[in-house]
Each structure stands twice: as structure tokens, then as C-alpha cells.
């Protein structure tokens, strides 16, 4: 299976008409033919046109996109999967959304930091131009502002990790909720700080927002223990943390030992899941109909891992439930989501094999 863009939201009448018209176009969809007349008429997948690329720093740019259909909205802090074709191959990456969810012109943006050895980020920051087409995936991510805004909060960010934090701060500013916010941001230099001007202006303008820029050019990295000095009441604040993996690990264990873990919100990318670490559900057996393999999955073992252990060669991508490369059609039985513990699935549903485990016997078309 292959990673897909989101499905645009279209009016119900259109959906009904298309369902009827499909009798004429089967096995293709009416949208496949509409797209021949004008690519924008096809509601097959959500695409977008790059409107402009706005440099933020020397090596970070905001990519502004006009979606082909009405933007369904997002919550500040969430990320968007965005795809583009490079030399005939479609590639996907996830970036934090930095646009206002209710932009008056319906525009959306992601802010991308140039990674020299990467593939997509150099294209966005150096190669892409206005007028080029991108593919817009689903909006995802649990790292976002809670409905009830906390009275006191602490934001900790490093490098390009500032992008989701910036979206949240902007939302607080718009809702006039910058009442008691402390923000520690780590960057190499003051000039290299993404959204640096904006954050510094907020620092001046709002009494309730304090920015501490921790410049690491020459200085040691920020340690969790530095917080006692910077923000002595960090234990009582709702904290939002976004940065590189090792930084998250360090702060997470610090909160576990010295603070209240329930107050710490982090961007929760679990790199590997489904290898049996999670104690969820009862496990079960899988029959892969196409590969012709029978697998047994112990508690917490994903369909993908179980199938691979049984000798099956199965498609996979991120192995953490983001990219949808590994999906297959469920023919029989139910599965359990290893991330949430939820039991779900009906025959005909497409499920991600990397984050779901069988519950009892299942059959899958893979």
C-alpha cells in the first residue's frame, strides 16, 4: 500500500452524484475523468498550490500553500503530512503547521528547516517555487493546546522544534491568554532563531510572556537542572516541550524524578512500536491471504512484526502509525490499536499493520 493524501471534504450532493456516475466509469472514478478537463475539479485527493515561500532564517522557510478544497482546520501544535514529487517519485514528510487555523484566504503553511543531507527539506527551502503542486495529507498529532487554557504555562523548545510552540503561542496571543507564560528557547545564534523577531516583539509587548533565549553557540546546552534558576516554579506549570529526541528524553526523566509527569506535554513520536513492549490486549493469530502466511502475535506484537517473524515479506514505512505504507484490508476479525488500546475494525476496513495487533483470529488481505 502506498501513502495517500487526505480526501477533500465535498458537499454531500456531490458525493451522491459521483457515486451514481461511477456506474459509467467503473473501475475508475468520475473524478479521474473530471481531472482531465481541469485538474482542480478532481476531488480524488487533497492537493495544494505553493503560493509563496517565505524565508524565516538563513536555513528555514515557511511554505505557504493554497489547498485545492476548503481547509478542514487544525489545532495549533498539530502537524501536516505534505508530499511532493521529486524526479518522478512522490515523497512525504510531516511538518508542524504554522498557519492560523482560520486563515481568511484559506491558506495553510508549514515551516521547514533545511537539513543538508535530507531530500524534502532542501527542496522546500531551496528548490520549490510558487505555482508548484504539493499533496496534503491528514492533520495529525496530539501535541496541542488543551481546550481549557492552563493558568500558568512553560514552553521549552530547541531549534526547529519551535514551530509547533510558535503556533500555540500565537493562539494564546489571539485569545488574549498570554497571562503567565515562560518560554525557554534554545538556538545556536540569535539570528538563526526561527520566528525570533516575532517572539522578541511579544516579549516586549506582553507582560505575561517572558522569552529566555538560550544561545548555544559556544555555550553549553540547556540542562533540565537549569530550570530551577530560570523558572523556579516549573514544577507547577503546564509544560510543552518540543525539540530533538535526546533533549526530550532528558527532560522527561527529570520530570519523572523531580516533577509531575502529568503536566509535561511532549511531541510523542514513538519510533518503534509493536515489538511486544506494550501490555495491551490478548494477541491472536493472523492469516495473510496474499502472502499466504499464518502468524501468531503475542501480547503487544503488531500484525506487521508477527507477520515478519513468520517469514512474510510485508510492506512497511515509518513503523509508528504515520505513513500508511503498511496498510491492508481487514477481511475477518478485530484488531487492537497498540497506541490507544482501542478495539476496532470491521471487515473491509483498511488498517495499519504496524500499530495494530490482532485480537483473536483475523484475516487480512496482504
Amino acid at each position: 500500500m502506498v501513502e495517500r493524501a487526505a480526501t477533500p471534504t465535498v458537499p454531500p450532493w456531490r458525493r451522491r452524484v459521483m457515486r451514481v456516475a461511477r456506474a459509467l466509469t467503473t473501475p475508475l472514478a468520475p473524478d479521474d475523468y473530471l481531472g482531465l478537463l481541469n485538474p482542480a475539479w478532481s476531488a480524488r485527493e487533497l492537493t495544494g498550490m505553493i503560493v509563496r515561500i517565505k524565508p524565516e532564517t538563513e536555513d528555514a522557510s515557511t511554505v505557504v500553500v493554497r489547498p485545492s478544497f476548503r481547509w478542514g482546520g487544525h489545532r495549533p501544535g498539530q502537524y501536516l503530512r505534505i508530499g511532493a514529487e521529486l524526479n518522478g517519485v512522490r515523497h512525504w514528510r510531516a511538518y508542524s503547521l504554522t498557519s492560523d487555523p482560520d486563515h481568511p484566504e484559506g491558506l495553510v503553511s508549514v515551516t521547514v528547516k533545511h537539513v543538508p543531507e535530507g531530500r524534502m527539506s532542501p527542496w522546500f527551502t531551496r528548490g520549490a517555487e510558487a505555482g508548484q503542486m504539493v499533496f496534503l495529507g491528514d492533520v495529525e498529532g496530539e501535541f496541542r493546546l488543551p481546550e481549557a487554557i492552563p493558568a500558568r504555562s512553560l514552553f521549552i523548545s530547541a531549534g526547529s522544534g519551535v514551530t509547533p510552540i510558535w503556533s500555540m503561542l500565537r493562539e494564546l496571543e489571539r485569545r488574549d491568554a498570554l497571562t503567565d507564560v515562560f518560554h525557554v528557547h534554545c538556538a545556536r545564534t540569535a539570528d538563526g532563531m526561527i520566528f525570533g523577531d516575532y517572539l522578541r516583539r511579544m516579549d516586549v509587548e506582553y507582560d505575561g510572556y517572558t522569552l529566555h533565549a538560550h544561545l548555544t553557540g559556544g555555550a553549553p546546552r540547556l540542562r533540565p537542572s537549569d530550570l530551577d534558576e530560570l523558572c523556579s516554579d516549573w514544577r507547577e506549570r503546564a509544560t510543552f516541550l518540543s525539540g530533538p529526541r535526546d533533549m526530550i528524553d532528558a527532560f522527561q526523566s527529570h520530570w519523572k524524578e523531580h516533577g509531575d509527569s502529568t503536566l509535561l506535554n511532549i511531541e510523542r513520536f514513538q519510533p518503534i512500536i509493536g515489538t511486544g513492549d506494550a501490555d495491551v490486549g490478548n494477541g491472536g493469530t493472523v492469516r495473510f491471504r496474499v502472502t499466504d502466511v499464518e502468524a501468531t502475535c503475542d501480547v503487544g506484537v503488531s500484525i506487521l512484526v508477527g507477520g515478519e517473524q513468520a517469514g512474510g515479506i510485508l510492506p512497511y514505512g515509518c513503523r509508528m502509525g504515520i505513513c500508511h505504507t503498511c496498510v491492508g484490508k481487514l477481511c475477518q476479525g478485530q484488531v487492537r490499536d497498540l497506541r490507544t488500546g482501542e478495539l476496532h475494525g470491521e471487515p473491509g476496513h483498511t488498517i495499519r499493520t504496524c500499530v495494530n495487533a490482532p485480537e483473536g483470529h483475523i484475516e487480512i488481505e496482504l
Binding site: 495517500r4 475523468y33 485527493e45 517519485v89 515479506i313 488481505e365
Partner: protein
């Protein structure tokens, strides 16, 4: 036969990963005169590596131009199909009927051969485009995509021409090789061969049900039920489209004519695809194998089985396009996951390997190949039958120097000026 998966989840089919060569020079049970009996295990390994290198070179070179090719063709097919359907709304006028039927036949052939077959082989999966991808593509025939992918991609391409394992050797209903035991039912073969030709898509549709397993009662019943349901749904949609809705759109006076036009287009496509596909492995030149001969084969031997078991058809670019490049059956079987549009440039490299190691390169003109197949189908309806003579080692024809344009002179033709 093993399969490896690239980090992006793409599955490539590879021959057996065990590089273990057979013990000794002639441990394999091949009869004298068989190309494999002549080769040493070292040579077989070399050949395997040479074929593998071609794959790597072409795969690394795929890009924008290839993507452009397949997208243009997808678009061309859709325009041609839509236009033909529109023209057929006036099908009660003979010229419109002829034009529409021709257009629709060509569209259906392109869709079946160069698009459907090749996309469902995963030849374009590297593009990562969800709409030109083996996991999502469905074709304009009564055969469900999933069923075909299992029987062709997996069974046929893995066990190519191994009698008893490759269900495409006779499709479980025909005797196409003298190694298959005779049975009185085969006396009817010349008759149902014609039926299969006309209604090939229906044959392909039920092929994957595994008639043998059903007969023996080893088939999983819930799976059979689901598969029959899949075929039923597909058949229903196809029949409704071709034989109810589009005829109805031609009005009361045109219903019958459009019905006939769509029926004709389906039959034309069936006859054509049947002819091309039967010419791929059933002509005299193709070698078949016993299970013993193909047991524990090395990667090189896998490539050689594909090479010797497949037969090309000579023809021009249009012919190759209309046959979905299955006229490059040899290249297709060596590299089922490479885009069909690349077979033409791969062919000379394959021929060079054949020449170097004294191997045959099976090919021939269409009518000769097709007649050969029909001859075999009639002969093998009766008991017995001998293995037919195979092609000699490939030798590159001497390059003919193009003398260029000439003009007449008193002393005979002389080179033209300028």
C-alpha cells in the same frame, strides 16, 4: 525464490537468494543438449550477476521521464475511452459505430495490456503515486485485481514453466506441454480453446480460484466465498456498464448497436490479449521444467529458467505498445518489476549475454508464433506428443552497412549527392 523489501516498503521479486551452486559441474538432471547442461555452476553465477546488474542500472535510472510516459498513456487511454463512448451514443449510424468500436477496442487493449497488467505488476510502484500503484489499480475486465495479482505475479512469475507448480502451464484445463499427463477431457481442447480465446477475461477471472484445490476439497471455504463475491461484484459492475447503461444512453434506437459495439470491443480485446499471452510461453522454443529440475536453483538458474521459458514476438513500436510490451516476454520475465517501457532498451543487453554464453534468445514473428501455439494445442489434445525443437544459440546478425540513398547512372546505382 525469496523477496526482499526496500526500506520504503517496496517489494522486489528476486530469484532464490541462495547463491549455493549445484554440486559439481553436471549434477543437475538436465538432458544433454539442454543449455543448462552445458554451463558450469560458475558460469551460471556469472550470468545471474550480469542479469542482476542490468536490473540495478535501469532501476537506478528511473525518474521524471518514465513518470511522464505512464501518466501520458493513462491520460491518452482515458480520453480515447471517453471519446469512443461518446461517439457510440450515435451508434445507430454505421460510421459512428465503426469509429466508436475501433476506438473502444484500442482503449480496452491499452488499458488491459500496457496499463493494467504492468501497473498491477508493480512496475510503477517506485513512483509512490497512489493512483498508479499495484495495490490500488483495478482494470476494465471481469477479473478482480487481487485475484489476478496472486495467480500471475506470485504463482506464475515464481514457478514459471515448472509443470505441476505453474498453474499457467495450461491454466489447469489445457494440455500445452507433453510433460502433462493426457486425459480424455483434453479431446475437447480444440473446442474450448476457441471459447477461451473469445471469453479470455472470464477465464482469467476464475483462474485464481484454484480449480484443482476446489476439486480436491482443500480450498478454504470462507476464502472461496469472499473470492466468488469479489468476482460477482466485478462482473455485475462491468455488465451493468457495458451492456445496460451505455447502451441505454444511446437511446431506444441505438441500444442494440451500442450493446453490440461494447460486446465487440470486449471480444477484440479478449482475442488479442489471449493471442499475446499464449505466445509468451507456449510456442515451441520455450523450455518447460520438471519440479526436480527446478529444485534448489541458484539465482543464476532462476534467471536462466525465465530466459529459456519465455518467448518474444518480433514487431514495431506500435505492436509492442498494443501488446503491453509482453512481446518482450523474455525481458518481462527477467525483470517483472521494471517498467515495460524500458524493455526495448534492455533487450540488446540480454541478447549480448545470450551470445556470450551460447544461449538461445527466443523470438519470432507474430503469425508464426501464434500458429505454432495453435498447432500444439490441437496435437496435445491427443495422447503423446514430443518435445518440439528449440532455438539455436543466439548469434548477432552481422551489421548491415546502410549504403544510403543511391541514384541511377549509366553504370548502375551510385551514391546520391549530397
Amino acid at each position: 525464490m525469496t523477496t526482499t523489501v526496500a526500506s520504503n516498503g517496496r517489494a522486489h521479486r528476486h530469484p532464490s537468494g541462495t547463491p549455493e551452486a549445484p554440486q559439481g559441474g553436471h549434477a543437475r538432471p538436465f538432458p544433454p543438449g539442454h543449455p543448462l547442461a552445458r554451463l558450469t555452476p560458475e558460469q551460471i553465477d556469472e550470468i545471474g550477476a550480469a542479469f542482476q546488474r542490468i536490473h540495478e542500472d535501469v532501476y537506478a535510472d528511473l525518474g521524471e521521464a518514465d513518470a511522464h510516459y505512464i501518466r501520458s498513456l493513462v491520460e491518452f487511454h482515458r480520453r480515447l475511452a471517453a471519446l469512443s463512448r461518446i461517439v457510440l451514443m450515435a451508434s445507430r449510424y454505421l460510421p459512428a459505430w465503426l469509429l466508436g468500436t475501433t476506438g473502444l477496442s484500442v482503449a480496452k487493449i491499452l488499458e488491459n495490456m500496457e496499463l493494467g497488467h504492468n501497473i498491477m505488476h508493480g512496475q510503477w510502484d517506485w513512483m509512490n503515486d497512489p493512483y498508479i500503484h499495484s495495490s490500488t489499480w483495478d482494470w476494465d475486465t471481469v477479473s478482480p485485481a487481487a485475484a489476478w495479482k496472486h495467480s500471475d505475479n506470485y504463482l506464475h512469475h515464481t514457478f514459471t514453466n515448472i509443470v505441476g507448480l505453474d498453474k499457467d502451464v495450461g491454466y489447469e484445463i489445457m494440455r500445452v506441454d507433453p510433460k502433462q499427463p493426457w486425459n480424455p477431457v483434453y479431446l475437447l481442447q480444440p473446442f474450448y480453446n476457441v471459447l477461451l480465446m473469445l471469453f479470455f477475461e472470464w477465464g482469467v477471472g476464475v483462474h485464481d480460484l484454484d480449480i484443482d484445490a476446489i476439486r480436491k476439497g482443500t480450498k478454504d471455504m470462507s476464502q472461496l466465498r469472499d473470492e466468488l463475491k469479489g468476482i460477482g461484484q466485478k462482473v455485475g459492475r462491468q455488465v451493468l456498464k457495458d451492456y445496460v447503461i451505455f447502451p441505454a444512453l444511446s437511446g431506444r434506437k441505438g441500444f442494440k448497436q451500442t450493446f453490440a459495439a461494447n460486446f465487440t470491443a470486449n471480444i477484440v480485446r479478449n482475442i488479442w490479449s489471449n493471442a499475446i499471452i499464449f505466445c509468451g510461453h507456449f510456442p515451441d522454443q520455450a523450455y518447460t521444467y520438471t519440479q526436480e529440475e527446478a529444485a534448489d536453483e541458484s539465482r543464476g538458474a532462476w534467471y536462466l529458467r525465465q530466459l529459456l521459458g519465455s518467448v518474444n514476438i518480433d514487431g514495431g513500436d506500435t505492436f509492442h505498445l498494443m501488446s503491453g510490451n509482453l512481446s518482450y516476454q523474455v525481458e518481462h520475465h527477467l525483470y517483472p518489476d521494471l517498467p515495460s517501457s524500458r524493455y526495448k532498451e534492455i533487450a540488446p543487453k540480454v541478447r549480448a549475454i545470450c551470445e556470450q554464453y551460447g544461449l538461445p534468445y527466443n523470438t519470432g514473428p507474430f503469425l508464426r508464433q501464434w500458429s505454432m501455439v495453435q498447432r500444439t494445442l490441437i496435437r496435445l489434445a491427443f495422447p503423446g506428443g514430443k518435445v518440439r525443437p528449440k532455438a539455436p544459440p543466439y548469434v548477432k546478425p552481422p551489421a548491415q552497412e546502410d549504403p544510403g540513398p543511391v541514384v541511377a547512372s549509366a553504370r548502375g546505382p551510385i551514391p546520391a549527392f549530397p
